[in-house]
C-alpha cells in the first residue's frame, strides 16, 4: 500500500482527521472514512452528478477531487442539509412533488437544486433544466424534479433556507 497523508476534512460543520492515500477521491473518503454514505457514486468520471457536494458553498463533483485537496474547505453533504423530521425545503418539495423514484440521484439533485435556487430565487422550468443538466436521473423523466425545484424555490422565497 502506498503512503498515506493526513488531512482534516470539515464536513457538515465537524472537522475530522483522516489518513488517506493521495489517490483517494473526496467522494470515497466521505463514504468510507467518514461513513457518510448519502453521497452517492454513479459514474465516477464527472458525468452523472450523483456525488455532488457543496465546497465552500459551491457545487463540486466529489468524485473529481482528491480527498487531500479538500483540507481547509467547508464541505456540505446531503446529511448536512437535513434529516428525519428536520428537512430542508428542497427535500420536502422533492418528497411532496415526487421528485424521486429510486432515490439514487437524489442527494446530488437536492444539492444542485439548492445551488440553483441560491443563485436564482425564481428559476423558470427551462432555467432549471439547463442548470441541472449535469445531474442525471434514470427514473423520473425529470418533469417531477423540475416541479420539485420550482416548488422549493417558492417555499424558500418565503421561509428562507440556504444550505
Amino acid at each position: 500500500m502506498a503512503e498515506t497523508m493526513s488531512v482534516v476534512l470539515n464536513v457538515n460543520g465537524a472537522g475530522r482527521s483522516v489518513s488517506v492515500e493521495p489517490r483517494k477521491t473526496l467522494a470515497d473518503a466521505i463514504r468510507e472514512d467518514l461513513g457518510l454514505t448519502g453521497t452517492h457514486l454513479g459514474c465516477e468520471h464527472g458525468v452523472c452528478g450523483a456525488c455532488t457536494v457543496l465546497m465552500d458553498g459551491e457545487v463540486v463533483r466529489s468524485c473529481l477531487m482528491l480527498a487531500v485537496q479538500a483540507g481547509g474547505a467547508e464541505i456540505t453533504t446531503i446529511e448536512g442539509i437535513g434529516a428525519g423530521d428536520d428537512l430542508h425545503p428542497m427535500q420536502r418539495a422533492f418528497s411532496e412533488y415526487h421528485g424521486l423514484q429510486c432515490g439514487f440521484c437524489t442527494p446530488g439533485m437536492i444539492l444542485a437544486g439548492i445551488d440553483v435556487v441560491s443563485r436564482n430565487p425564481d428559476p423558470s422550468p427551462q432555467e432549471i433544466r439547463e442548470e441541472m443538466g449535469g445531474n442525471i436521473c434514470r427514473c423520473t423523466g425529470y418533469q417531477k424534479i423540475v416541479e420539485s425545484v420550482q416548488a422549493a424555490a417558492a417555499i424558500m422565497s418565503t421561509e428562507g433556507g440556504s444550505a
Binding site: 464527472g46 468524485c63 473529481l64 487531500v68 485537496q69 442548470e131 443538466g133
Partner: protein
C-alpha cells in the same frame, strides 16, 4: 480506489512547481481543476508517477485588465465567465464559458487546464485562437511566450509545451474598435461536449468587413479558418459573404468521425454554424462588443 498509485506534491508557488517539473519531467502530470485529468486517473487512462497539484499556487489565479487582458492559468471557469473585466474586453469569452460543462464542472475547471488538456472538442482553445491570445510557459530554465496556434498546432490531448513547462498566464490583446462576435456550437444536450463549434470575431467599417478571425473546434484539433477569413475580409457584410465563409470554413475544418457523428455531418455543421455565428456577429456590432 480507482486511480493508480502516484506520489503527490502540492507546491505553493510557481518557482516550487517548475522545480518539481524539472525534477520529475515526463513522469509528472500537473493537476489543475481536475475536471478532465481526474476522470482519466479514475479510468487509469493516465497513470502519472507523480502528480503536482497546483491548486494551492495562489499566484496563478488572477484576472488583470490593465491594457491587454491577462488571466492566470488557474482562474476557475466560473470566475472567468462572471468577470466584468473579461466581459467588457471580450464578450465572446463569457458566451463560450456558459457552454462548458455544468456549474459544478466550471466551479473547479480552469482556463489553463482546458488549454493544456487540449480536448479537440473544448471551446476555449478555439475561442482564444480567434482572439490571437498568447500563453506564457514557465520552466526552471526561464519563460517563453507561445501563440495559441503554435501551442496547439495539430495536437490533440497534448500541446507543444514541454514536460517541464508550466502554463502560467493567458494574454489576450485588446479587441479592435468596432469588432463584434458570434459563438455557436452544436451539442446533443446542453453541457455536453459539442460535436462542432465556431468562434467568429469580425470588424467592419460600417458595411465592409475589415478584419475577420474565425476558429473552429470539434474536429481533430482546434484551428483557425483561413479560407473563411479570406472570404470575409473586404466583402460587404451579408448573406453572400457569410455563405462563402461557411463553405470556406467547412473546407478548412479538420473533420472527424466518431460514434456521435460522421465527418461529413460535422463539416456540414461547421458550414451552418459559421453562417449563424457571422449573422450573430453582424447583429452584435456596436453595443459594447469591444
Amino acid at each position: 480506489m480507482k486511480p493508480a498509485v502516484f506520489d503527490y506534491s502540492a507546491p505553493e508557488s510557481i518557482a516550487e512547481t517548475v522545480d518539481l517539473l524539472a525534477e520529475h519531467g515526463s513522469g509528472a502530470k500537473v493537476l489543475a481543476g481536475g475536471q478532465s485529468l481526474v476522470p482519466m486517473l479514475n479510468f487509469r487512462l493516465a497513470r502519472p508517477a507523480h502528480l503536482i497539484d497546483v491548486n494551492g499556487v495562489d499566484e496563478l489565479s488572477y484576472i488583470s485588465a490593465n491594457g491587454a487582458l491577462r488571466i492566470g492559468s488557474m482562474t476557475r471557469l466560473t470566475a472567468l465567465g462572471e468577470s466584468g473585466d473579461v466581459a467588457r474586453a471580450h464578450p465572446i469569452i463569457p458566451a463560450a464559458v456558459a457552454q462548458i460543462g455544468h456549474r459544478a464542472i466550471r466551479n473547479r475547471g480552469t482556463i489553463g487546464g482546458s488549454l493544456a488538456h487540449n480536448d479537440p472538442a473544448a471551446e476555449l482553445p478555439a475561442v482564444l485562437m480567434a482572439l490571437d491570445a498568447e500563453v506564457t510557459a514557465r520552466s526552471a530554465d526561464g519563460e517563453r511566450v507561445v501563440g495559441m496556434q503554435e501551442l496547439i498546432e495539430d495536437r490533440l490531448f497534448e500541446t507543444t509545451l514541454g514536460d517541464t513547462e508550466l502554463l502560467t498566464e493567458i494574454r489576450i490583446p485588446a479587441a479592435a474598435a468596432g469588432s463584434s462576435f458570434g459563438f455557436r456550437e452544436f451539442a446533443r444536450r446542453h453541457g455536453d461536449f459539442a460535436l462542432a463549434g465556431v468562434a467568429a470575431v469580425i470588424t467592419t467599417d460600417g458595411s465592409t468587413i475589415t478584419q475577420a478571425a474565425l476558429a473552429a473546434f470539434g474536429g481533430t484539433h482546434a484551428t483557425r479558418l483561413p479560407t473563411a477569413e479570406a472570404a470575409l475580409v473586404g466583402a460587404e457584410t451579408g448573406d453572400a459573404a457569410f455563405a462563402a465563409a461557411g463553405a470556406g470554413a467547412a473546407a478548412d475544418f479538420p473533420s472527424t468521425s466518431d460514434v456521435h457523428g460522421t465527418a461529413d455531418y460535422r463539416s456540414h455543421l461547421i458550414n451552418v454554424l459559421t453562417v449563424r455565428a457571422l449573422q450573430d456577429a453582424a447583429g452584435n456590432s456596436g453595443g459594447g462588443n469591444g
